[in-house]
Amino acid sequence: MSRLPSGGRIDRSRPVSFSFDGNSYQGFAGDTLASALLANGVRLMGRSFKYHRPRGVFSAGSEEPNALVELRTGARREPNTRATTVELFDGLSAQSQNRWPSLAFDLLSVNGALSPFLSAGFYYKTFMWPAAFWEKLYEPVIRRAAGLGRAAEENDPDTYEKAHTFCDVLVIGAGAAGLTAALSAARSGARVILADEDFALGGRLLSEQHPIDGAPAASFVAKAEAELASLPNVRIMTRTTVFGVYDSGTYGALERVSDHVAVPASFMPRQRMWKIVAKQAVLAAGAFDRPIVFGGNDRPGVMSAQALRTYAVRYGVAAGNMAVLFANNDYAWSAALDAAEAGVRLAAIIDVRREVAAPLQARAKALGIRLILGGEVVATSGKILSSVIVRSGGREETIAAEVLAISGGTTPNLHLTSHFGSRPTYDESLAAFLPGTPPAGLAVAGAAAGRFALGETLRHGAQLGASAATAAGFAAAPMAAPRAEDTPSGISAFWQVKGTRGLAFVDFQNDVTAKDVALAHREGYRSVELLKRYTTLGMATDQGKNSNMAGLAIMAELTGQGIGATGTTLFRPPYSPVAIGAIAGHHRGKDFRPTRPTPTHQWAEERGAVFVEAGQWLRAQYFPQPGEKDWLESVMREVKATRSSVGLIDVSTFGKIDVQGPDAAAFLDRVYINTFSTLAVGKARYGVMLREDGMVMDDGTTARLAPEHFIMTTTTANAAKVFQHLEFCLQVLWPELDVQLASVSEQWAQISISGPKSRDVLAKVVDAPLDVSNEALPYMGVAQGTVMGGTKARIFRLSFAGELGYEIAVPARHGEALTRALMAAGAPFGITPYGTEALGVMRIEKGHVSGNELNGQTTARDLGLGRMASTKKDFVGRVMAGRAGLIEPDRPILAGFRPVDPSKRLRAGAHFIAIGAEGTLENDEGYMSSTAFSPALGTWIGLGFIKHGPERWGQRVRAYDPVRGEDVEVEVCDPAFVDPKGERLRV
């Protein structure tokens, strides 16, 4: 066991059981998975992405590159969680990933021997071999060899929430600077949100041993937390990562509400996505320790100096039996010495510098630690680290160690400052990049701003917290910052040990080595952006938090440009990975978008309708009857009943737009290709409107209710688009027109009845004096009155099905009552409800175009409607519809098609090819757009576009469909298969 006998911010009275790779272990409340595994002596935690190298834990935070595990089992299995941020809970089950057959013995670690072939750019070079190799060879092999855990195969049983909140000052990070910033802002009365990704406040203060105001740092944290918690204007959000900065003071944050329990409590989400809008923000995200590049620096047991201290001080864990430190800076000494004082056995400190601050040396000597100044680690050995080989004064020696703590310096965590494109700038004295110009309203405090010394960090946070509150309109002053000693801060820039043995890693997570960087340099990929993409350096889930500095420092040395001139790549949101489930929130499954039931939905459900989604709408598709064997049989019955007697369908989903004003008629003339100013009051007319590029946008009928009052209908799919277009025309193109628009799609239910008996049915529901006789209400006539004893109604005599027909509009709340009344009135005639399928069959039989024809690529001429276009006026799309390419004679035009062999089926998507011609693009003459089995003709029929369509009725071509392997001879014909003269409409 590696648990120290005492110390740590864990609750030793609350043991927690968990398992890793099937073995049971015990930790304590307050542990992370990583600290508990180390406490149990488990140091091998994963295998690397490309070479399957054994890996242990490197850090103690969210920047962890190595210790990625699968968490939980079954539907809740989650890959690539960082063991360093997983809070231990009772029953937690974790599995290592990326290994086969086991973590300890991984056959694919042979990839490491193949490293010369898997070097930088191998993705680009290797896959230039024949394309056929991809599916058979590369993809399966690479998927098995290089992976990052397995996602659950079942649906996620948990829920995710989205929430918005607002504040005056958002403080990101609750370490030394964050706490003083939050206190200084909060004391002014400003609404403060303090967010931290950890489950405890304190940041570095949970791990460091420096006293604050003469007392342990922990007591300062406890006092600060108590004060903040007592203030009503402060909200503390732990387990919450602010992952992105957006414009206008908007911040994205992910709260892990239930990740620390096995199963979320009832009604609690697993995670919650926050959109925080803050007047001002203070980024106090701290800093992290970066690695040094040398051979074998990825061996399990090698970890950052800060991590060694955190495990010792915060979790009471010795990460191994005997440790050594290899560093180039004073902070690493402080970290290692803190760990040693907490009980970790520290054998030696190796520093590349020959001069190190005397107080640090004295402190080390007092602990009996051997000092090797001017030394370097050149290699490591053991599958799990057992010793390090140190070179100093020209000699090498081997030192036994289970832990090698390393530190190449401190990197400010300035990720969020570059989300808006601001480039960090290099500071030679700190050997670190500092924030460039942060986004407006965001100030950077403490270590994130390169102010690493504790006393300075506390003061800086207080100052920026107060100035943020002041900027947000509050009278704020910095709190009297607590006193803390500023410990030695020396550093000598050092990135890479020369002349080392073994693979020297720059990026642990993507297995990028120093050699790969050199290769990228040799091959010309020298800019940091190219280096990143060519080697994949910094492209893994840690986004180069650990690797960027060393990678670009090595490149800078090779180019001789210097680090500042080499620059760094930009960071982009998210700061750490965000699950897709959290981004989706409750917008999943049926809740992905709203469902709009029609006014007759409940009635249709009672009748056993099968529904189909039409945009957001649910419409009845068909109404199966007992004994019918499939949908086609139901649809045929519905069509026959409508054509022979009467059928009913809800057409409320059509868009309805009320158009009023002195210029309403003139306006419609400008948006439709045909003329509406000549339409008589009490009449309706079919209209076609174009986009400005000359293609058809939509069609529908528009009726004139009064001289200055029209009611327009649009297709279901385009209702919103047409309305937006009309508003555009009125407000942007012709603001001089005096017209008002209102969408009334949801205010009116509209029921269509069609068939020879429809007038008899209608007559039974209208109230006197409304007269629906052929004389009073002729074809395309409109009448207004009441139905069902006093319900206001508009009656339009028109039919998409091509029969005598009426559409009856009533206020939406009466739609269901009207339907029941019509069904009762039609019972003697066998009135039959039908759905969208039967409607589709009847409109194809009638040659009416619909969505398949109005596909955004067809002109009015293509649709056979060219003659509708007025030549006496301008309208939207007129000029562009006249372009040479759109009026050339060879452009396919709408026609009907029927199979020469009546038993053959037609399918939409087939292309027309001359008989005997080869099925090539050059021979393509057009395509089939809609097909249906026609009960009237007893065969399949189709609508489609074919060159010279109207002139070719009677000719034969092939409907060639290589996708389905079909090739059917068809005859071109009139698209109006049923009642081409329209006589049935006028009876």
Binding site: D247, T250, D693, Q724, E727, Q731, V732, V879, M880
Partner: protein, 88 residues
């Protein structure tokens, strides 16, 4: 992003639909060379990195078409006017 609608005040960008360049003007369809002018009007757009005037439609609000002066690099909005009151 938040857009200051002249009617509704500062509103979330999700309430708006984007169209694009507000500086183009529908040509005179009767003028000579109308087809070329319409071609440019329909298809040619500048895509500046920086200050831009754009049309946004407040579809989930007052249904106004709004001309918004926005910096495409930062989303900083310098102002917004009703399209019907702007002469392009």
């Amino acid at each position: 992003m938040r857009i200051p609608c002249p009617y509704c005040g500062l509103r979330d960008a999700h309430e708006f639909a984007y169209l694009g360049d507000a500086t183009v003007k529908r040509p005179d369809p009767a003028a000579p060379g109308a087809e070329d002018a319409f071609h440019d009007y329909v298809y040619l757009r500048d895509n500046p990195a920086g200050a831009h005037k754009e049309l946004w439609y407040h579809g989930s609000g007052c249904r106004s078409w709004v001309v918004v002066a926005r910096d495409t690099r930062t989303h900083a909005i310098a102002g917004a006017e009703l399209a019907r009151e702007v002469t392009p």
